[in-house]
Structures are given as structure tokens and as C-alpha cells.
Amino acid sequence: MATAEPAIVAGAHEPRGVAGWLTTVDHKRIGILYVVTAVGFFIISGLLSLLMRAELAQPGLQVVNESTYNQLFTMHGTGMMFLFATPLVAGLANYFVPLHVGAPDVAFPRLNALTYWLYVLGGVVVFSGFLTASGAAAFGWTGYAPLSEATYSPGAGVDLWIIGLILVGTSSILGAVNLMATIFGMRAPGMTMFRLPIFTWNIIVTLTLIMFSFPVLTAALAALFIDRNLGGGFFDPTQGGDPILWQHLFWFFGHPEVYIVILPFFGVITEIIPVFSRKPLFGYRGFVFATLLIGAYSFSVWAHHMFTTGSVNNPFFSAMTMLIAVPTGVKFFSWIATMWRGKLTFPTPMLFAMGFLFMFLIGGITGIFVASPPIDYAVHDTYYVVAHMHYVLFGGTVFASFAAFYYWIPKMSGRMMGERLGKLHFWLMLIGFNLTFFPMHQMGLNGMQRRVADYPAESGLEVLNAVSTAGSGIVALSIAVFLFNLFVSMKRGASAGDDPWQANTLEWATSSPPPHHNFKRLPPIRSERPVFDARHTGPADG
């Protein structure tokens, strides 16, 4: 169905001001709400990690005690994964998918508002654990049973963690259905599947992963809740339950989850690189194929998180995990070939995209190491893994998020972000990030296990940890620069115009910010670069 008006003409007359934002069903406003809330959780979870780094700066306990430290890393991980990265995807997709497909809104605007508010509610419930007498959940974002059972982790904080995550998960599932319906049901005339922007293709695969993996997490959380409150015994070996079952369920969700928070950002990078190379994406179809392959493989690798349990088929999961590197490699070569013989410029979005390429490359390579069971026997649950995962999640997701922000905020707000501050932000973050996380490889190889508030003195770990903590301060500074830049630019930034980057995809064919229901008039869509075609008015493909 290709239509100019959504089924429900919802939100055409929204109240002004705060009330308008609170009651909005407009996909662009909901998108902005998602992004702002997600960044809020990024800052909160980031502050928790600064406390951890402060504690780890030297051996001994100086800043927090063990009990607090355990809550900190649990809530840092939970906040970053469930309340920052995943909802940020929902936010960007909400804003840009309808624009990318040339639709006036999402398929179900009211459902869209519901998913946002479920997410907010879930996030508040998760974090309210800090207010309970026994504190927040303190068993890691992975919630391994039986540690997460009532015997070992009594207290309401854990139940709030479970309930909050069920709410957030439900929100993700409903949001996925909504966006999927939008992409398949509301594309503009001429927008065939193979003309969709790659960002939107990556979102399709991401939504599929959400729809298959989040229900499993929800079921596992419900079972844990039953165990804790109704004597279920699913994961309790003393009642015939199985702690390993929890790990299977959690990682059957957990591994696709890491692709849920990276694939959309592959998409972002793939939008940005062609624009600033002034060339089409090299190997569009190959790229789509690689994305589908990653999506399919990602459901067959989960037990690589369980190599040391002695309960899984290590060679099988190792083989599948290494295979998944291949389509990822294809993407790298596509990006390089897109830049090859182009005319490259490096405004802030492109700088962050380049940062992403280098940082994610390192994270991807250490991923092959931990995919080898013998190597994993050595480095599993050490700081090596903490390093690997942050090169992927921070070097990947966060660098690409900032690329997306600098690229798209002009569209969302109508104002350009400051370039000088943007570049300062980039270089500070690049340096701070590497100082924080690169030494962690060596800490792990030296045997420092993760999730510890303290480590022995004279273990050769002091210098590495001190450097890492200093680096985290620089990262924090870089984020402050970003917030300052955002504040100043939203007040006084240069006007963006419709298409400040000379870009390719439909969001640039309308005003900044786009009007209600997005487009006054759509350009003809004859390739995956309709705006490029319109600008160069020649035949659709060169």
C-alpha cells in the first residue's frame, strides 16, 4: 500500500508546549523524545561508570564499597544496553524510517506513543531499585541464576529490575512490529525494497532480531520472577531446575541484542560515507545480503558466551561465531571501496564515521580471539572481554551515534551543530576512549577478572588502571563538550536549509525540520539516491 495519508490522521492538532510533547503521536516528536531520553540514560549510566573507574584508579577500596560497586556495574550495563543503546535505535528509526520510505508517519502512531511511555516507565522502574533498602540489582546485566534467585539476592531491587526490563522489552517488541508495518506497508510509489536506504535495510534486520529475541528474554525474566516470588524452581538446582538454562535463554537473547545495537549503526555509517565521498555506496546488494547473513547467523552463536561452562558444543558455536565475521568484513570492504577514488570531506559526522571504522575494526578483531574456545578459556570474564565489548559498543555504537547526531540534528532541528566544538569533541573522545579501554586488554591478559571492586597491589595492574581512569575523565570531558555544543548550536547555530550535506536520501527532500506529515512533494524515486538524482537531474544512474 503506497499512501499519502496514514490510516489514522492522528496528532494533526496537537496542543502546544510541554503538553504537546507529552501527548504527541507524531513519529518525529516521539523519535526526538526517544533520543533525548536515551541520551539521558547514557549520561546516567556513564556517571555510574565514572564512579567505577574512580574506585579502580588504585588498589584498595577508596570510593565505594563492594556492595555499591556491584550495583554500579550492574546498573551501568543494564542502563547502557537496555535504556540507552536499544531505545536510541528506536528513536533514530522512529524519526528516519518514515522519512526514508517517503511515508507521512508510522503505521500505528498511537501504539508508537505507547511504546515510548512503556520504555520510560520501564527505565524508571529499573533505576528505582537504588531507592530500596537493599539497593539495586547487583549481579551484572546478565542476571545469572542462581545468584539472581531470592536465596542469594533477596530484596525488591531485583524484582524492580525484572519488571522494568519486561516493560522495556515489551516496548521494544511493539515498536518493532510498528516500524516493520511501516516499512512494508507505507513505502512511497517507486520506493522498491532495493531502493531503500541502507539504514532502513539494517533496521529491517534489527527489527526481525528484536521480534525473535526479546520474547525469549521476557520469558526468561518471567520465569525468574516466578522462581523468586512463587517458588518456581526453573533455575534452582536444589529444586531440579538448571542454572545453565538461564544462560541459554539469556544469551539466545543477548547475542542478537549486540547486533540490535550495532546493525542500525552500520546503517548510519553507510548513509554517511557515500555522502561525504560524493559517490554511491559500493555494492549495495552485497551489503544488504551481508546484513541478512549477519542477522541469520546471529541466532546460532549464543553459546560462545558459555565456552567455560563445559556444557555446550564449543566447536559448533566457535565455528558459527567466526563465520559471522565474514559478512562484517564485507561491509568494511564496501565502505572502503565507497571512499576509493571519491572526493572526501571531513566535517564532524564523517570524522566520527572514520573513528567508528578504526575502533570497530579493533573490536571486531578481538572478537575473533574470544571466538576461539582455548583463547576464551584464558580471557573469558577478564578485562580483556571488557575491552573487547567496549571497542564494539563504545567504539562502534557510540562513535556511530555521534556521527548520526552531527549528521541528522540539522535535519531534526533546522540548525547546524558547531564544527569547531564538534572536532574538539571527536578528538577528545578518540583519545580518552583509547586511553580508557586499550589498557584493559593487557589487564585481562595479566589475569584481572571483571566485576571486581579491588585488585591486589603490586600486581602490575596499578599503572594500567590509573591510565584507564584518567582516560575515562577525558571521555567525560568530551561528552561535556558535546552537550555544550548542542546547547549553543540549538540557540545560535547556522540555519541548516533542506539539504546541508548534499545528501542522497529522502529525508533531505523536505524542510528541516520536516513539516507535519513530512513531505509537501516527493521527488521521483528511481534509485537508492532520489535526492542525488533530483540534484543532478540526469538519468537515474550514472
Binding site: N70, S311, G342, I365
Partner: protein, 225 residues
């Protein structure tokens, strides 16, 4: 940059050495992959930077099937090679010795380790205040692991191996240990004092080990043999 991660410990078990040399192979290949890929990116950034004032479009090429098949195939071959190397190492590392020189039963609990020795009645229990110190003979030692409560993980960094201790089941690692004193920790997060579960294993001659086994229990054992 990648090279600075090469300082992997050598390993004090034959299994650890196996892992360490596998790590080194991976590292060389990884360094190659990193240099080629990062080099191509860096080259593009430097070489294809737009000249100021040059507004012409560069050539708009879209695809090249041969090239794309090649860059699918090369990594595919590479990961098969890495998988095979790692699978061989895995077999060696996982191999259980049919007649170990000692079998040590290890039980993790919140927060310490209990070591018992098959058929000798010897038992050493460590606590956060007084971590366990135990002896094993140089040679093939089997550790049979379980847990009394939550999941723990038995990890001796110098062995380059860890294995989870899971309540309700036994897991096992077999290592061929060199003489020496080795510190261990719990690697799987297990609650409040997870960081306070260290233990020490000293590998000594079979005679010294047997003599230690005969010693009457006296609370926490002396670790000096």
C-alpha cells in the same frame, strides 16, 4: 597498537603453552588483517581527500561482482583456517588425562574454595580472611569442580585456563603443571565478596605432595610443603 597486546603470559601448564602459542598465531594474523584494513582506510582518507574548489563529481561506480566475491572469499578462507587451528588446540587443551597424578575435588562457595583429595581425607577450606593454600604434584592434575551455591569459576591466570563451577553438576579441567606457586581467583561473578576468593596452588614433587597429604589436618593447611 595491536602489538602491545602481545604480552600474553607464557603459561605454566602444557595446556597454557598450547593456548599461548595459539594466541600468538592469532595475533600475527590479526595484526596482518588490521594493517591491511586500517591501511586501506587510512590511504583513502589521505589520498582521496577532496581538493578545495573541486566541485566535479568523482566517477560514480556502483559494484564489481568479481571484487565482491573475492572479498567475501578471502575472509571466509581465513576464518576456516583460524577455526581449524583453534579446534586442534581445543582438543589438546580439553584432553582428559586417563591416569592423573592427582585428582583434586574443588567446591566453590560464597566466598571461598574447598579442596579435597580423592581417598586421602585431606581437606583444605579457604575463606576471604584466610585463602586456601594447597599442594599438587608436578605433572597431570585433574580438578573436578562444583559449587555449593551459585556459579563460580576456577581460574588460575598462569595456567591460562578457567572453568566454571556450577551447582548441581561437575566440570573438570586437566592440566599438566610445572613446578611453581600459582595464585588463583574466582572469575564468575558470585556476589558480594567475589573479589575476595583468592587461593594458591603450589606444584611440588610427588614425594613432597604425598608427605603433605599425610599431614594431619590443622585447620588451614600450611602452604609451604
Amino acid at each position: 597498537m595491536v602489538l602491545t597486546t602481545s604480552c600474553a603470559p607464557q603459561g605454566s601448564t602444557s595446556q597454557g603453552r598450547e593456548i599461548s602459542s595459539l594466541y600468538d598465531i592469532f595475533l600475527w594474523i590479526a595484526a596482518g588483517v588490521f594493517l591491511v584494513t586500517a591501511g586501506l582506510i587510512a590511504w583513502s582518507i589521505i589520498r582521496y581527500r577532496a581538493k578545495p574548489g573541486d566541485d566535479d563529481l568523482p566517477e560514480q561506480f556502483h559494484q564489481n561482482l568479481k571484487l565482491e566475491v573475492t572479498w567475501f572469499a578471502i575472509p571466509q578462507i581465513l576464518v576456516v583456517v583460524l577455526f581449524v587451528l583453534s579446534a586442534f588446540a581445543l582438543n589438546e587443551v580439553n584432553e582428559e588425562s586417563p591416569e592423573p597424578d592427582a585428582v583434586v575435588d574443588v567446591t566453590g562457595f560464597q566466598w571461598g574454595w574447598r579442596f579435597t583429595y580423592d581417598g586421602s581425607g585431606k581437606e583444605v577450606v579457604g575463606t576471604p580472611q584466610e585463602p586456601a593454600k594447597v599442594l599438587v604434584p608436578v605433572g597431570n592434575v585433574s580438578f573436578v569442580l562444583t559449587s555449593a551455591d551459585v556459579v563460580h569459576s576456577f581460574y588460575v591466570p598462569d595456567f591460562l585456563i578457567k572453568r566454571d563451577a556450577v551447582p548441581g553438576r561437575d566440570t573438570r579441567i586437566d592440566v599438566n603443571v610445572d613446578a611453581g606457586v600459582y595464585d588463583g581467583v574466582c572469575a564468575e561473578f558470585c556476589g558480594l565478596l567475589h573479589a575476595r576468593m583468592p587461593f594458591t596452588i603450589e606444584a611440588v614433587s610427588q614425594e613432597a605432595f604425598q608427605q603433605w597429604l599425610q599431614e594431619p589436618p590443622e585447620g588451614v593447611a600450611r602452604g609451604d610443603g
